[in-house]
Amino acid sequence: MTEHPFTIIEKIVLLSGICISLGSFCFEVLKRLRIVLKGTGSLPLDRIGERLWRVFREVFLQEKVIRGRLLPGLMHGFVFWGFLVFGLVTLDHFAIGFEFPLMSHETHKLYSYVVIPFSILVSIGILHLAYRRFITKPKALGKLSPTSGLVALFIVLLMVTYLLGEMELQPLVWKINWWLHALLILAFLILVPRSKHLHLVLGPFNIFFKPFHQPDHTPVKIDMEASEEQLDEMLSNLTRMTQNQALDIFSCVECGRCMDVCPAYRGGGILSPKDHFILDLRQPLLETGDVDVLSQINVEAGWECTTCQACSEVCPVGNQVEKSDEIRRLQVLVEGNVPQEYQKLFTNLQNTGNTEGAISSSLVDRLPKFTPDMEYVFWLGCFARYELDPNFTKSVENFAKILDTAGVSYGILENEHCSGDPANRLGDKLTYAMLREHNMEQLKNSSKVVSMCPHCVVNLHKEYAKYGDISYKVEHHSQLIGRLIDEGKIGVKIGDNGKVTYHDPCNLSRMLNVVDAPRTAIESVTDEFFELPESGKDTLCCGAGGGLWWKKETVGKTHLVRAEQVVESEANTVVTGCNFCYGMMNQGLDPLIPDDRSNIHVKDISDIVAENLA
């Protein structure tokens, strides 16, 4: 285009600028990619269709960005969609500098009808985000970031210079404006890889590679016959990140959504998932140029995690944030640094196969024993078996009543040991291996297992499968109850339960993806059902997960945050689908219910269904 001629000097300067800026960009990005590729395992390439669909939803549609924080999310969406629209404009801008425009004058004009509205939306979006970051200052965003201020300024100036460029300007003014726009883009390229704005580049890839199941910690396979050298190698690998984890660290956008949903952080604990599980590891990765950094995770913070996976669920750039498994297994297997109450728990598991160190269970005598002609193994779990909350025994009996009514045959295993959930989540992978091997032997002739404990279901099913093939299917009792209702095998009626809400257990909703079945069951017996503010896969942990049920003292009140929410919800009955949630609700609600309020009934799904059998 001869309309705006560029001298040869200008072209050389422009070319040099592009080379420097792109060179710097590539150098920084490649430096990080080299570190990522040193990680253990590999980036997954299975189920590509599902992965692309996820990228479409979470990147292009900004699903998670907007879902968690509507207004800032939408503003971010404006900026993001604007960037997409600006892609062509930017390429064309530099092409014009070499007098080889990509678009004809008419096409440019036509395209500007799309770009101009977007440039206004981008400006509104980035100004709102800057206002939020520098004036409103939500705690989750962390300390003020000058880079973010600079980026906001760059984006606004890019929009302004673009809009000016679309006007009729004096050639000199046009040229100055053109150079300003070009230099801003080149400076932006230098800034991006050095800051959290690298998420622009890595975010889509990170979302693509994110594991489908949470949590996705590398299984620790222990060979007791291994040589000392093999053992040392296995142990030294425990401090190494996977490729996926390393990519997470560089993709983090530091938005703090993980903090907003973390029960430990919200309860006043020291754990901040954004800092302890992600940002604290970024500098060590860059400084060492290697992934041998997991020992840098704050140990106390690691013990506070309830392993509820809310942080990984909410992350808009596809991070699997939680790394308590990594730091805990290092503490247990390598350092021998384990809180005393957990040492007692592990000793109980080793000596008796159950969490309580109990020799017998009175409940076992009252339930039928499994024989091969029966359809289901009714897996009790330590909570029910050893009556960690004596009230829950009634729920077990209610589930048995439902099965009896439906004519489903079932029996319990006399030699059932703890599924190993607490040992697994607390990092004692050796005790876990012992329990797992025992239970797999017990279950080898079974085809169907049902349990009221989602922790047991997750382990018997998904976690055991990481170590070897399993021959049985495991389901949560809410799934079976929901099906029995759907198939008309049990008749139910609408009962008088007052206002009923449901607390989704994290193991059930986030780890097993069971969200609808409990609702099917509950809504078939009540017409006053309502959802809690955080429900389904966005549920808030009761505080018992990750072995915290056995922790005597915690900083803050992780165990009360959800109970407070239930009290505020004005529910008369709170139903849950996990024995640990049931226990935590019972413990948490009592002291929180105001004197002038009537009691809130805590029920398992089996209770509310069994009480309303037609």
Partner: protein, 259 residues
């Protein structure tokens, strides 16, 4: 520094214990055996002293075959070797005779320090460490809540006194000291520690190896029983002032929670 830690295998105090029909013993099948609680703290203290000053930690136990487990646990946590004293003739010995068996076994090792838990969770004699010290002519201290090695021949011991008081005392080495629970945070056996147990040695000692044979026990168990549980509820009536006055009296004189 050559340190011996005495560890006893005891029934887990949190497990439900059932008294056998003979009213002299516990029903074995129902017992979960564990290392005595305060002995765990003694082991940890010994391991920390070794880490600071070098030397060797040797775990020693006396008991039935099942008691080998406490040695395995100690070796897994980092003890260098074990001594397993076992003989059916030792099973019913009183604490003085047991002291003689231990003294005879440990004498030739020339330990700088013998550490034991304050007392065993089952018998609660609190005497073994002291008896061994007397028999081997060592200095002794009890209720240890802190240790500090001054030099090759002196150790400082922080002793717990009554009423929340502590006292630091100097003992000449060799010494036998007993350790109170809570002095430290006992470690958990690492995976490497557990795997290395098979490479460590455990010396087996039986009656024929013990020079000064212990005589027969001077103590016999007459009856083992669970204390009766009683509830004493006292109703205090009167005006609020009278009730509070009565309560203060009760707290001071009967329950003794007020001075």
């Amino acid at each position: 520094m050559k340190i011996c830690v005495l560890i006893k295998q005891v029934p887990d105090k949190d497990s439900s214990l059932t008294i056998a029909d003979d009213h002299l013993t516990l029903v074995e099948n129902n017992i979960t055996w564990v290392s005595n609680e305060s002995d765990n703290y003694a082991l940890e203290e010994a391991l920390q002293l070794r880490e600071k000053h070098g030397g060797e930690v040797i775990a020693c136990t006396l008991g039935k075959d099942s008691a080998r487990q406490v040695l395995k646990d100690a070796l897994a946590k980092g003890a260098d070797r074990g001594i397993f004293i076992s003989d059916s003739s030792f099973e019913s010995l009183d604490v003085l005779s047991l002291g003689k068996v231990f003294a005879s076994t440990l004498e030739k090792e020339n330990f700088d320090l013998i550490m034991s838990g304050l007392q065993s969770d089952d018998q609660g004699n609190s005497q073994l460490g002291l008896i061994i010290a007397e028999l081997l002519n060592m200095s002794h201290g009890t209720l240890g809540m802190g240790t500090e090695i001054i030099d090759d021949s002196t150790i400082r011991l922080k002793k717990e006194l009554e009423g929340g008081w502590f006292q630091w005392t100097k003992l000449s080495l060799p010494a036998s000291i007993s350790i109170q629970s809570g002095i430290n945070s006992p470690r958990y056996a690492t995976l490497k520690g557990i795997m290395m147990v098979k490479k460590k040695t455990v010396d087996e000692i039986n009656a024929s190896d013990v020079a000064s044979r212990a005589s027969a026990s001077n103590i016999t168990v007459k009856k083992l029983y669970v204390p009766d549980k009683t509830k004493e509820t006292q109703f205090i009536e009167g005006s609020p002032d009278e009730i509070s006055e009565q309560l203060v009296k009760l707290f001071k004189n009967d329950i003794k929670v007020l001075n």
